[in-house]
């Protein structure tokens, strides 16, 4: 087990190095500079070069790359070009909080409701319960979350005045964005759970359990759900990453000061250090989540054994 994790960690470092390299050189292909080019246009080529030199942007790209990598090894992501003087690390730390909060709430909400709906649909297979749940699930997948968010904001926020329309002022500000994000999670999880449950319910060991006289609830809890949840764990990885790292649209609609719009904005303004910082952060987070998911498999499903683990 330890050896397995160790090897995976080394792989992660190599992967991150490759990502950093590719991103760095791709990013330098972006036209323009991190400065207001329309204002810089009044400068002559010489003045312009001088100006860029002050920020170390006159050096060859490979030199800049080596310098960046050196700082990275020291754990220094540099300072932002756009948010002048701010550490990229502190920007990330500031922004990730709100995004992670609404993301986590959306996952909890989405998982709970999704699994319950899925189980109901499976046990009431081909009844009106099943159909209406699946109708909701299809709706949840096909209605984009920003439409749902705008409707929520208009009716719940503006017309009914139950929750704040937008802003980030108290805990209640986080409720609507979380619900808006949870919608697609509910839909996805409900469908997965239902399909898997149906498959598991048809297995021989379910019949055995029933024959042994095990109580219905216990059958569901001990035998059915745990087996049905394995594929759910698989989709949980990417969902977690995408929700915890923020949603551009939902955050903009509800005025959440999160990390979602930072990526797009930083690319627009050629904020090199922020682009790099965010890319590395996302990648590291994604890869680590995948590792955790792989380890979780072993816990949930006794049939899966991690290679190198002694029986």
């Amino acid at each position: 087990m330890k050896k397995y994790v160790f090897i995976r960690l080394i792989n992660i470092v190599i992967t991150l190095f490759v990502i950093a390299t590719v991103t760095f050189f791709l990013m330098k292909q972006l036209p323009g500079s991190p400065f207001d080019e329309e204002k810089l246009a009044v400068l002559s080529d010489e003045q312009r070069a001088e100006f860029l030199a002050r920020y170390g942007l006159d050096k060859p790209v490979t030199t800049q790359y080596v310098l960046y990598l050196g700082n990275l090894l020291k754990g220094d992501l540099g300072t932002s070009f756009y948010f002048k003087g701010q550490d990229v690390t502190s920007i990330l730390v500031d922004r990730i909080g709100p995004s992670a909060l609404i993301g986590t709430q959306a996952i909890i909400l989405g998982l709970t409701i999704g699994i319950i709906l899925g189980i109901i649909a499976a046990f009431r297979h081909n009844t009106v319960w099943d159909y209406s749940t699946m109708f909701l699930a299809v709706l949840g997948v096909s209605v984009p979350n920003f439409v749902f968010a705008a409707l929520l904001q208009y009716y719940v926020g503006l017309k009914l005045g139950l929750l704040p329309v937008a802003f980030w002022e108290s805990y209640s500000s986080s409720i609507m964005p979380s619900i808006a994000l949870a919608l697609s999670v509910i839909a996805l999880i409900a469908r997965y759970t239902r399909n898997e449950m149906l498959e598991v319910l048809g297995q021989d060991y379910m019949l055995t359990a029933k024959a042994k006289g095990v109580k219905r609830l216990k059958i569901i809890y001990v035998h059915a759900i745990r087996n049905a949840l394995i594929p759910v764990v698989t989709v949980l990885g990417p969902i977690t990453v995408s929700l915890l790292t923020g949603s551009l649209v939902i955050e903009n609609i509800f005025g959440v000061p999160g990390i979602g719009s930072l990526f797009v904005d930083s690319i627009k303004v050629n904020d090199y250090t922020t682009i790099m910082g965010l890319t590395l952060f996302y990648s590291a987070f994604f890869i680590l989540t995948m590792l955790v998911i792989d380890l979780l498999y072993g816990m949930i499903d006794p049939r899966i054994r991690i290679s190198g683990v002694k029986e």
């Binding site: 036209p31 323009g32 500079s33 400065f35 207001d36 080019e37 329309e38 204002k39 810089l40 246009a41 009044v42 003045q47 001088e50 100006f51 002050r54 756009y82 948010f83 002048k84 003087g85 701010q86 920007i91 500031d94 922004r95 909080g97 709100p98 992670a100 909060l101 986590t104 709430q105 909890i108 705008a150 904001q153 208009y154 926020g157 503006l158 005045g161 704040p164 329309v165 937008a166 802003f167 980030w168 002022e169 108290s170 805990y171 500000s173 986080s174 001990v222 903009n252 609609i253 509800f254 005025g255 000061p257 999160g258 719009s261 904005d265 627009k268 050629n270 816990m299 949930i300 006794p302």
Partner: protein
């Protein structure tokens, strides 16, 4: 195995709590909550103003910052020697008056007796000297250093790193007298002292804070009508009346919230819920609110135009250029396509920009470019004859909605009026600028936002040497006129030269095709009075605002 689940859940919940505690929900949320109820009425219960900013606040370091959002915040918490008032005229602020020498080159500013920083220390002439030198010093300056260095004697060489600070002609004679010598007579210099980069800085404070200066609200010393009590780049700022401000009796609002709301539809919902007192409308919403009492429009000193590249065939042909300049009607563009409060342009200089004798530049000049389809056709045919073939033409635009719509509008107008098919090339904003610098375009939809209230901010741009970014334009007569205007002390003479320069640029040489002056449509609550927005420099001035 089963027992592990509660543990996992525990870890998960613990994580959630950590995240929650890291979210820093504001303490001040009670303000926002309390005023829910009776909001739809004409009056406001509290003396609080709520406005939105349409993007993050990038940088409150006045020396380096370049964007209008940071400018808007700083303009309300800091103050220069002069402040631009409701009528867009400079009025005495930190300074009570100034004297100018007869040649227009030496300005002596007299500071008020009782001006203080928010920590109670006096604002002195030396604070201005320190700040201005800092803004020009290549080690500390940002991309706005030119707004000082271009005018102050010795500034340009200092900003280029060629000379030392003591060669710059700024002198703090005593604590209340600041003497500045200029390179050229600059009638708008007093207005410039109201610009963000000209605000004072306290040397002791800045040195003490080092590279942490202006990164949070405690690391800024204020001398303006308000102080920042809460600052988060992604969330916005809260301002409160500055008790040390010299003119605090005339500051109308106790507390201001400027919140970052990037989505226009959200801002509109907030406005309707009473959480915002003013909102910018998207063009889609303009028609539904046009007849509302709360509706209004305003234009800023930002002109959009087609930049023709004189260095590329067939645009180098004057008749072709003139045909392309006259073949569309900007009126249709603003009223049908944009519909956002923008006004059709008949010249380069925006309306209301200063002219002479109390008249604006546009009033003095009148329309320089008038759309004329028949004339355009004639000129086109003449041009085609000169070229010997029908040329192929490509128009470059940025890839935002407004630029693309403008491009499509031009394409269809040219098709309709000249019978030609032009190609559209769209690139991201920075890609458009790069392409222009690389001289890889024939014509491009471009713009310029004024830095200060004088036609020179525009006309200066097309002076020699010819550069691709400005269409490779070079005309000795034009250069002469603008250069002479820079040296001219007599205001009327100076303006007449600038008026002629605009005519040469647009009529004789057709270097630009005029499009529109950027405008905004907004809704504003009736109880909001004295809301001042400036067409150039820092857009927002809330010193004169009241909400009762």
């Amino acid at each position: 195995m089963v027992k592990k689940w509660p543990k996992l859940l525990g870890v998960f919940l613990l994580g959630l709590m950590v995240i929650l505690s890291g979210c820093n929900f504001e303490e001040s949320s009670s303000d926002a909550k309390d005023k829910k109820g009776g909001e739809k009425t004409e009056k406001k219960a509290e003396n609080v103003l709520n406005l939105s900013l349409d993007n993050d606040i990038p940088d409150l370091n006045q020396v380096k910052t370049t964007d209008t959002i940071s400018f808007s915040v700083l303009n309300n918490v800091m103050e220069g020697l002069y402040r631009i008032n409701q009528d867009n005229e400079p009025e005495p602020a930190m300074a009570k008056s100034y004297d100018v020498s007869e040649d227009g080159l030496t300005y002596t500013f007299h500071l008020r007796d009782n001006v203080k920083w928010s920590d109670g220390n006096p604002v002195t002439a030396n604070d201005f000297k320190y700040s201005w030198l800092r803004a020009m010093n290549p080690d500390t300056a940002g991309s706005y250093s030119f707004i000082l260095a271009d005018y102050i004697k010795g500034g340009a060489k200092f900003a280029a790193g060629e000379t030392a600070a003591d060669t710059v002609a700024i002198e703090a004679k005593d604590d209340q007298t600041l003497v500045v010598q200029l390179e050229k007579p600059t009638p708008f210099f007093v207005s410039l002292t109201a610009f963000v980069t000209y605000f004072p800085l306290n040397e002791k404070f800045v040195t003490e804070k080092g590279d942490q200066f202006a990164l949070n609200n405690q690391n800024i010393l204020y001398n303006g009508p308000y102080v920042i009590t809460d600052y988060n780049q992604a969330e916005g700022v809260s301002l409160e009346k500055n008790p040390e401000y010299w003119d605090k009796a005339n500051v109308g609002v106790d507390k201001i919230n400027l919140k970052v709301i990037k989505e226009q539809s959200t801002a509109l919902n907030l406005y309707e819920a009473g959480d915002l007192d003013r909102v910018i409308l998207s063009s889609a919403d303009v028609n539904s609110f046009k007849d509302s009492k709360e509706f209004g429009t305003e234009t800023e000193f930002t002109s959009y135009y087609i930049q023709f590249n004189l260095g590329k065939d067939p645009i180098s042909n004057t008749n072709i250029r003139k045909a392309l300049q006259l073949a569309y009607d900007p009126e249709v563009l603003t009223s049908v396509v944009l519909n956002n409060g923008s006004e059709p342009a008949t010249g380069l200089i925006a309306p209301k920009m200063t002219g002479a004798d109390g008249k604006s530049f546009r009033e003095l000049q009148g329309d320089v470019v008038k759309p004329d389809v028949n004339k355009a056709k004639e000129l086109w045919e003449k041009g085609v004859k000169e070229l010997g073939k029908t040329p192929e033409i490509t128009l470059l635009t940025a890839d935002d909605t407004v630029s693309k719509d403008t491009g499509t509008f031009l394409q269809s107008e040219y098709k309709k009026n000249l019978g030609i098919d032009i190609q559209l090339v769209t690139k991201p904003y920075s890609g458009r600028l790069q392409t222009m610098r690389d001289n890889d375009y024939q014509m491009v939809v471009s713009k310029w936002g004024a830095d200060y209230n004088d036609p020179m901010t525009y006309l200066d741009l097309w002076m020699s040497p010819a550069i691709p970014f400005r269409g490779n334009y070079s005309n000795t007569k034009y250069d002469e006129l603008v250069t002479e205007a820079k040296d001219e002390v007599d205001e009327k003479e100076r303006m007449s030269k600038l008026l002629e320069a605009e005519k040469i640029l647009l009529q004789d040489d057709a270097v630009l095709g005029t499009l529109y002056y950027q405008g905004t449509a907004f809704l504003q609550k009736p109880y909001l009075k004295g809301m001042v927005t400036h067409p150039s420099g820092a857009p927002l001035d809330l010193k004169y605002t009241t909400v009762q």
